[in-house]
Every structure is written in structure tokens, then in C-alpha cells.
């Protein structure tokens, strides 16, 4: 498969994986730690959505499904599928507990992307494409224009019933 198309497909799959799992695990609902609240309020002040801001702040301050996706892809690339993803899941779990997070989002993200990588290997997309795809996906959320991406995350959170109730 053409390398560019493989990277784009991997980016879309990683984006869907981590946004859906993180939203379902309640990242837009409340800031997990104080630092996430600071970032969330700053995004809201600059014209974004508060729930989307909490989502972005939680990504910065604690390993979540985005970290699980990236690290599971890196582990699958170097150690092999599926053992790499399973090893990454326990390491992400330890990292989560070190950051005062229960650990559900990170491990679920790692395990689900391991299944997706295993399935995608049958159509010619390798774990290395998923590493680059995941970095591209996180740049669209954290690195382009925060008010727009936070409003998009807020709309997804509202649809899944996870929008924040904080003022």
C-alpha cells in the first residue's frame, strides 16, 4: 500500500480510537488534576469550549488513551504484535497510577489499538504507520487551533453525554 495513504488511514483510526475512548471514560467531564483545570480554563478564555479544554488539559497532565495508543504502537513496532501492545498496557497502567489517575483510559486505549493494529496488518498498514498517524492525530487536537478543536471535542462530548457540568 502507498505509504502516504497508509499513514492517513492509520491517523484516522488512531484519532477515532483515542477520542472515543477518552470521551467515554469521562475526560471532558472534569479535570483529573489541578493542572488540567488551569489549561481548560485558559482554552475557554481564548474562545474555546470548557469540556474540550478539560479534555486537552487531561491529555497533557496524565497518560490517557492517546498515550496508550502511541506507546502501544511503538511497542508493537519494536517488540511485535500483540505482545508489544499488552506490555505497553501494563506500563501505561503504572504510569497512570503515578499520575494520580485510575488507569482505565490508558489501558483501554492501548488494548484496543493493539486489536486495530493486528487487523490492519492484514491490509498492509504496519505499526510504524500507526506511530506517525497517532502523532499527526494529536497535532490536530493539541497543536493547530485550540478554540476550534476544543469546540469539536465539546460537540462529541455532548453527543456522548459526557459534557462538563462545571461553570
Amino acid at each position: 500500500m502507498n505509504e502516504i495513504i497508509a499513514i492517513i488511514i492509520a491517523a484516522v483510526l488512531s484519532w477515532i480510537n483515542f477520542v472515543l475512548i477518552d470521551t467515554w471514560m469521562g475526560l471532558p467531564e472534569q479535570p483529573g488534576v489541578k493542572g488540567a483545570e488551569v489549561i481548560g480554563r485558559s482554552v475557554k478564555r481564548r474562545g474555546g469550549d470548557l469540556a474540550g479544554g478539560f479534555f486537552q488539559g487531561n491529555i497533557v497532565c496524565s497518560p490517557d488513551a492517546s498515550a496508550g495508543t502511541l506507546l502501544a504502537s511503538a511497542a508493537c513496532y519494536t517488540i511485535g504484535t500483540p505482545e508489544g501492545g499488552l506490555i505497553a498496557a501494563i506500563l501505561v497502567y503504572f504510569g497512570n497510577r503515578l499520575c494520580a489517575d485510575p488507569g482505565y483510559a490508558g489501558t483501554t486505549g492501548a488494548l484496543s489499538i493493539t486489536c486495530i493494529i493486528f487487523a490492519a496488518s492484514y491490509i498492509g498498514i504496519g505499526p510504524a504507520d500507526f506511530i506517525v498517524g497517532m502523532v499527526l492525530a494529536i497535532v490536530t487536537i493539541q497543536g493547530l487551533y485550540h478554540p476550534f478543536s476544543s469546540r469539536l471535542l465539546g460537540k462529541i462530548a455532548k453527543k456522548m453525554g459526557r459534557h462538563t457540568k462545571l461553570p
Partner: protein
Amino acid sequence: MIIHANVLITILSYILAIISAIIVGLFLRMPILPERPMRYSFTISIVFPTSVLAIGFTAILFKLGHNGLLVAVVVGVLTAIFAKYFLESLLPKPQTEESS
């Protein structure tokens, strides 16, 4: 789809590791599911994180060269014991942050 015997034994080993961790966890009286809402609780239960740790440690041992069903069963048993007694002291529950 042709499934080779090696892949079948590997999948069976992972499932056996989870099953043995669940059985020993039930024997040690660990809660099966954490309390609701599940995504915010720090309780160590059978489904999470014991099962995840069981297949993770099995994967580490498989990559280090020790393959087979017996390895998976032993790892499942040891993981359940580890999760019940040692995990809490290794990774303590965080106290709620004080606000200034």
C-alpha cells in the same frame, strides 16, 4: 483463514492466564467489578487491573522465551496474588489534592 497450531496455542495461553487469574482472584475474595461510576474508582478488582496485568506479564515472559500453557497458568496465579497483596503498597491511592 488458515490458523496455525502455534497461533492457537498462543491465544489459548492468554485466555488461560486470564481464567486462572480470575479463579484465584475469586478465591482470594477480590471484588469482581469496581464500584460505580467505574471510570473514577481506584479499587483493585478482578476485571481491572488483574486481568490486564495477567496478560501483560504473560506477554513479557513469552517474549523472554518461556512459552507454553503452564507458564501462562502460573503467571495468572502469581498475578492475582500480586494484585491482591502487593499492588496497593507499590502504587498507593492518591490522597485528594488540597486546594490552596
